[in-house]
Amino acid sequence: MIKRTLQYGFIISIGFPVVFLLVLSLGRRWAYPNILPEQISFANWEFLQQSDSKLFQAFFVSLGISLCVAVFVTALGFVISKFIAYSQRRNTFLVLAYIPYLLSPVIMAIIFQYYFIITGLTGTFLGVIIAQFLVAFPFGIIIYLNFWNAQLKSMEELSYTLGGSRWQTYKKVLLPLSKNALMLCFFQVFLISWFEYGLTNLIGSGKIRTLTVSVFNFVTEANIFYAALACFLLILPPMLLLYINKRFILFVEKTEL
């Protein structure tokens, strides 16, 4: 009985932030000690109808960047990780991949900002995609390295023995077997990119306004209602993903895919 109550209490407290942010995003004027904002209306949400509003654009900028980064990392990581997985120096590569994966992205951005300026990439959409790619790619490699194993390798070799071409082997054998790994990598990288702030803000020179960057802008403006709204928009896609398939929302090393 106590266990049940605790569990329900827990579920409710997990859902609370979502409701709280939603209410705050509808609010205006919230002086102490009022529990709720004085006005509740859809006024803050009207941006949805204006395609030139900042939040509307931020949502799509974020979406565009995250999709690009996720696609590139998923595709390129798949090919490269396969060679690394079967290489003699696999462990060296793995440790190398862990370095950027473990470093704070904002510190990475600080040390390579100079090169982005030289190449004229700061403040551009492309620059932010490349910077996020550099941070997310090692993670993609780590995900895939958990996936390649001896069994897969022998299946692949079997395909060659039976006369399959490289292309056929990829298409008919490897890709179907890798569907889950590919999905996992795609969604994980999408989320990393979707959540990123420090690096995006530095390399984007503040010009590339993603949703997370907007949250911080609204916070510095002390505009908590818009910040809450931007926060709510930020958690929507992950929640959608959770609804579709919760397994893609987190990556646990050394588990079966």
Binding site: A31, Y32, A222
Partner: protein
Amino acid sequence: MVFSCGENKKQEAVDVLSLSWEDIEQQANGKTVTMMMWTGDSKINAYINSFVKPKIKNTYGINLEIIGGQGGNIVQILMTELQASASKSDVDMMWINGETFYQLRQINALFGPWTDKLPNSKYIDFENPFIGMDFQQPIEGFELPWGNVQMAIVYDSAKVENPPMNREDLLNFVKANPGIFTFDNQFTGLTFLKALLIDIAGGGEVLQGDFDEEKYNLYSQKLWAYINQLKPYLWRKGQVFPESVAQMHQLFASGELWFTMSNNDAEVDSKTAEGLFSETSRAYVPDFGTIQNSHYLGITKLSGQKAASMVVANFMVSPEAQLEKMNPVIWGDGTVLNMEALPKDMKAKFQNLPSRTKAPQRSEILHKAHLELAPMYMIKLAEDFRKKIINP
């Protein structure tokens, strides 16, 4: 190769300045100008977004793009660009003053002198030392005066009947009412510290001119001793200071603080109209005085849009734009124009602006205004504030 590239840039810079204003306007058409500014105030952002941007777009066909950033942030970006020999800057113009101007001049990141070129510069009151000098430095055409403000302290008259007028008053006041007074650890708070430093030194004249280390050490020691006396009675016992003036305003709005501060004497009116501050909020200037200073517009040396930036700047100091900006319910930023130089009807419009209701009239606080100190004072104060008060 590198050499010839540099030559070209020089060539172009000379070209913009040798063009006639008509040519400059023509060149500006259809361009996009990126301006970096402090975006920590929704009223200011609204003025830029719903007044300046559309006007510039409709009149000159220029797109104005705003990015957030101030002070060290601007300097760091421009410096890294110069270092990387970037051919073009990400930033065309920016809102600066004081120590940012000083640092940008040091690294030679500013374009200029360009301000004489603007038709509207004839209205600007360059003779006024509060406008023509920025933190004791002559502006020399490298930045354009945009607004002029005096710092004021804001309090809630429902809670505070007689706001403290001098240092001793303030100390007694916070002792009697602990936890309701503080200052932020950025520009506004530092400007407040400067006013105290001037008071301790015995008046503005003592610290005039270039940075004087000896004087600084002497008076700042007394300043920190005074702040340490206040510290236990400040908000959160002086263990922590608000990160920004926006945060301090929030704390004041929610009632956690009884005082906040503003680098703009008229801000209390716009913030009350906005509904953030309570109707009983008032602004005042204590007897020890506060700093009056101006803020400016600069153009980056590596800007690819110098002509368009000049056109934007020219609009921003036009009587029309200055009038709108000075309206207390819009922004309430003081003008840099010389009323005597304006056409009669314009002058009348300025005089007929809705008057301040919660802030004192400018004329009443003018005699308590101090000139800004040399930038090094601010840099030193910021450093010592961190070392001696925040992290002793």
